[in-house]
Amino acid sequence: MRVDYLIMLVFLLWLPFFTFAGELPTMDRLPVVSGYIRDARTGETLIGATLHIRDTNRGAVSNPYGFYSLAVNRGEVIMMFTFLGYEPVEKRLTVTSDLSMNIELEPVTSQISEVRIVGNNTQTRLDDPLMGVQKIHAATIKEIPAFMGEVDPIKVIQLMPGVQAASEGSSGFSVRGGNPDQNLVLLDEAIVYNAGHLMGFFSVFNNDAIKEVNLYKGDIPARSGGRLASLLDVRMKDGNSRKFSGTGGIGSISSRLTLEGPVFSEKTTFLASGRRTYADLFLPFSSDEAVRDNKLYFYDFNAKLNHTFSDYDRIFVSGYFGRDVFDNTYSRMEFGNKTLSVRWNHVYSPRLFSNVSFNFSNYDYLLGTNEEHTDGFRWAANMEDTGLKADFNYYPNASHSITFGAQTLFHNIMPGHVRGTGSTSMYNELRLPRNLSYEHAVYAENTQKIGSRVSLRYGMRFSLFQNVGKGTSYRFDDDYKVTDTLTYKKGDVFNTYYGFEPRAGFTYLINQKTSFKASYSRTYQYMQMASNSTGTMPLDIWFSASPNVKPQLSDQVSAGFFRHFLDGAFDVGVEAFYKNMDNAVDFKDYAELLLNERLEGELRFGRGYAYGLEFLTRFNYGRWNGWVGYTYSRSKRQADGINNDNWYLSPYDHPHDCSIVIMHNLSQRVSFAANWVYFSGSPATFPVGRFESGGSIIPIYSQRNAERLPDYHRMDLSVTLRNRERPERKWQGEWVFSTYNTYGRKNAWVINFEKQENEQYATRAMKTYLFSIVPAVTYNFKF
């Protein structure tokens, strides 16, 4: 196994030399202007900032590391650099040869602009042949009313069209009718397998440590893959290179502190961010003594260190560590994620940028009883990914921008190990065999401009998946009974899948304010979660493709119109998509998914499709900003042996889905925000009859998911009151008062059918709702 890695490493590092050993001399090509685009106040690089040569259609965008490169004609040029929320910068240059130029943009603050329209400065790039991308900055996320005052990027993503919480309050989400495990969630390029704290009510992402969040809804660039529905790319801040600073807050359920700054010089910066909840402070108010006995909290820690050797070399080391703890007299449970990313950015030439990264991620849990009792037990599971990848951006001329690279991931899953504790334990030790696999990929993608109106993106990703020993696999008959057990020696590759994943996009600029886009993408998914509940829970484990489990496959086409109004203050888009899924995984009735060696016998395979129309208007007009989104979409599935082989609605089918988010700066010191969410109730299975057996009244069901919960809606509000800013005062504080579900709608979380107490034959339907009005107060500070 280690030999594989070495070969891959050597290959990755030398790739650019093989490919670009013969860089042409500057005289034979146009000169290139390249460099980094940064925030002038903090030195943070800006991702996706645009540059544009005035009076031409030439332009470029900074990559995920803030690097840009653009070939320009010799002579005098005027370059415009823009980024939402920043003052545009115009540079007049006389270009004769390659030029390295770093740009700093000044953030727009309330002091600078009382009432203004920030023009040419929008979220959606009309000419970019990539669709279904939602980009949200940490600053925007912070403005939106938060549940219990905990600012949460995933909750904000769920307000975007085509995205929904898996169940109320969950940080699991469904994109375009897909399952929560069909989203690739990356934190600084490391995979996060369970993005939820406290049963998913809060996500693992601490907004103070985050720079921005990008969600790709199915039209995923060739550089990423492995999930059908979306890529959620979360990037941590690099750390302020200009001065030592801090942000933090004390909230209703947690406190947090982030420190960042230069180390010795601007070349090295650090960021450290921690958070700890005290949710269990509320448990003593419970009427139930058993609940009062419980301890329940989470903490997490983000850290990042980066060093700039020169404009050509930069190294980042970033990590995350988080833990949830649940403890009482009787039992204890812990779970959490760890990630580590080590990245090296290297600029080979003004036209070739590279990033090589090593990524590690781990998710584990353990639970058990504290008592030494006969049924005392201790149960642990974990999954670990180790990956290496190299990504290159090559800008051969002004019309082409090429990305290419290679990746390899090693998955190591320990699905469960349980043993009895104490000398009198009745339990045998059960250790499920490890599941080991490799996931490799190579890709190349070109974004090409043709004339002044057309842009194309065409790329191919080739993915290769291998199950490796030491391992065990089973053969099943038609009734899913095991007929044969196969074991494999360490290092044996006993099963291989591969797939070509074409990705393509097309943009036609109808005029300077309007464009038409279309795209197609195919993705394979080799890893999935063993969960048949709609929400996610900490005990869910992942399993890989195998001789019995074919990789899931999705093909998605989408098309849409996009238009900017009022100089870009309004940004309107309409997008239609159709997605077909094969080898979709579902589970048999009463599937045993935990501690089951023969998990694969519980799986049922099928297909699915989803389609929809998404409208989104983002606005940034004077003191107002926000968005209005509406989606009409459907999502259906079919699987062998489920619902009598008939098609049924995905649990994430919500035909109508509307979100309105409005933020308003009343003055420099007061701002308010509101959001309203409405969607069709989740599909549910209700009884169509009953029968009596053994004293129980047992429900009879007909079609799966044939009914719906009542429609969901709620409104959240927040008001932020800031200190008056004074130049001599370093400390700035603000109070945020918010309410979740302001008008106290009792949204159904689940409907249960039950026998009435003390009535032998009477039954009733009971609705559980999680929250009524949830007020919260948070004090935030920065210095």
């Binding site: 898996a166 406290l198 509320f282 448990l283 419970s286 139930d288 003594e289 058993a290 609940v291 419980n294 649940f326 009482n328 009787y330 039992s331 449970m333 009792h373 006969t374 049924d375 349980v418 009745m426 045998n428 048949n532 509940s533 709609t534 829970m537 589970f587 009735d589 009463y590 501690l595 299975t685 209700f686 169509v688 009859g689 009953r690 029968f691 009596e692 057996s693 053994g694 004293g695 129980s696 047992i698 429900p699 009879i700 007909s702 998911n705 044939a706 009542p710 009792k746 689940v750 249960n752 009535e759 034959y761 009477a762 039954t763 009733r764 339907a765 609705k767 559980t768 929250f771 949830v774």
Partner: protein, 290 residues
């Protein structure tokens, strides 16, 4: 299912996270399916008149007992002899074996039902079921104790599971003359996946909430029935348990029809089981555990 302990752990976990959650009744119009034949029949090792009850299914909110199905021909075979069960005069739909009938261990019992018309199926339809009567696995004893923190009386069992055979256990509890286990959700069940061949030294089988369910007093006599059941009945118990207890989007899978073993689209279960009983006399009251 690993243990009662695990279930309580999850329950507590849910309780702690969801302590703000509330429940209220909601009015719903449910669709209705065609009525189907329902079989609820048990043959045990006890010597008695064993009952097979035939009813029809009804609408979920039909808040009345389901009518018995009369006039059926119900035959029962243990592989050696076949008998016809007699319908009760006083309780239509109840079919009984003779009073001196008992199930024999290691026999395959077959049930056949004819001459019933239910829903869109006529009298010429035949419904059959079979069940293997597994031998008794004798457990040693039961005890009770009280968990103060959860205000809960626990019933603990001692005994050995035989090695290298798949056993399915079902437990029912009676306190004095009162059956606690009146429904599947008030029973306990386990297969020996995690403890095959081991001695259970006080495995927790029942938890009785002292404030909401029953508070034991000194002198209370507890009787626990230990049933050995076959796999189809075990799966039925598991389904019936899950479909009648609380479901949540976090911990529960989608609702599903409880899998029965009656042919031809009929619902319910026919099971042949061995039973033995364990007793204990409670000597303490809650205050003794302060």
């Amino acid at each position: 299912m690993i243990s009662k302990a695990y279930k309580y752990l999850l329950l507590l976990l849910a309780g702690s996270f969801l302590f703000t959650a509330c429940e209220e009744e909601i009015s719903l119009d449910l669709k209705s399916d065609n009525p189907r034949l329902v079989v609820d029949g048990f043959i045990t090792t006890d010597t008695m008149a064993h009952r097979v009850r035939l009813t029809t299914s009804g609408g979920y909110f039909d808040n009345k007992p389901m009518a018995g199905v009369s006039g059926a021909v119900v035959s029962l075979s243990d592989g050696v002899e076949t008998i016809i069960l007699a319908e009760s005069d006083t309780s239509p739909g109840d079919y009984f074996t003779p009073d001196d009938y008992y199930g024999k261990q290691n026999h395959l019992y077959k049930l056949a039902i004819t001459n019933v018309a239910v829903g869109n199926k006529g009298r010429d339809e035949v419904y059959t079921a079979e069940s293997f009567l597994n031998p008794i696995v004798k457990m040693d004893s039961i005890t009770v104790d009280y968990l103060k923190i959860w205000k809960m009386w626990r019933v603990l069992m001692y005994g050995r599971d035989p090695k290298n055979e798949k056993n399915h256990y079902w437990f029912r509890l009676k306190i004095n003359d009162w059956w606690y286990s009146t429904e599947y959700r008030f029973t306990s069940y386990a297969d020996d996946t995690y403890f095959d061949g081991n001695y259970a030294e006080g495995v927790w089988l029942f938890g009785l909430n002292a404030e909401e369910e029953v508070d034991l007093k000194p002198g209370d006599r507890l009787m626990m029935e230990c049933w050995m059941v076959d796999e189809p009945f075990y799966n039925f118990i598991n389904g019936a348990y899950q479909e009648t207890e609380y479901k949540s989007p976090i911990f529960s899978g989608p609702p599903a029809n409880v899998p029965g073993n009656i042919s031809n689209g009929a619902l319910g279960i026919f099971a042949a089981c061995s039973i033995h009983r364990l007793y204990t006399d409670n000597t303490k009251s809650r205050e003794d555990f302060d």
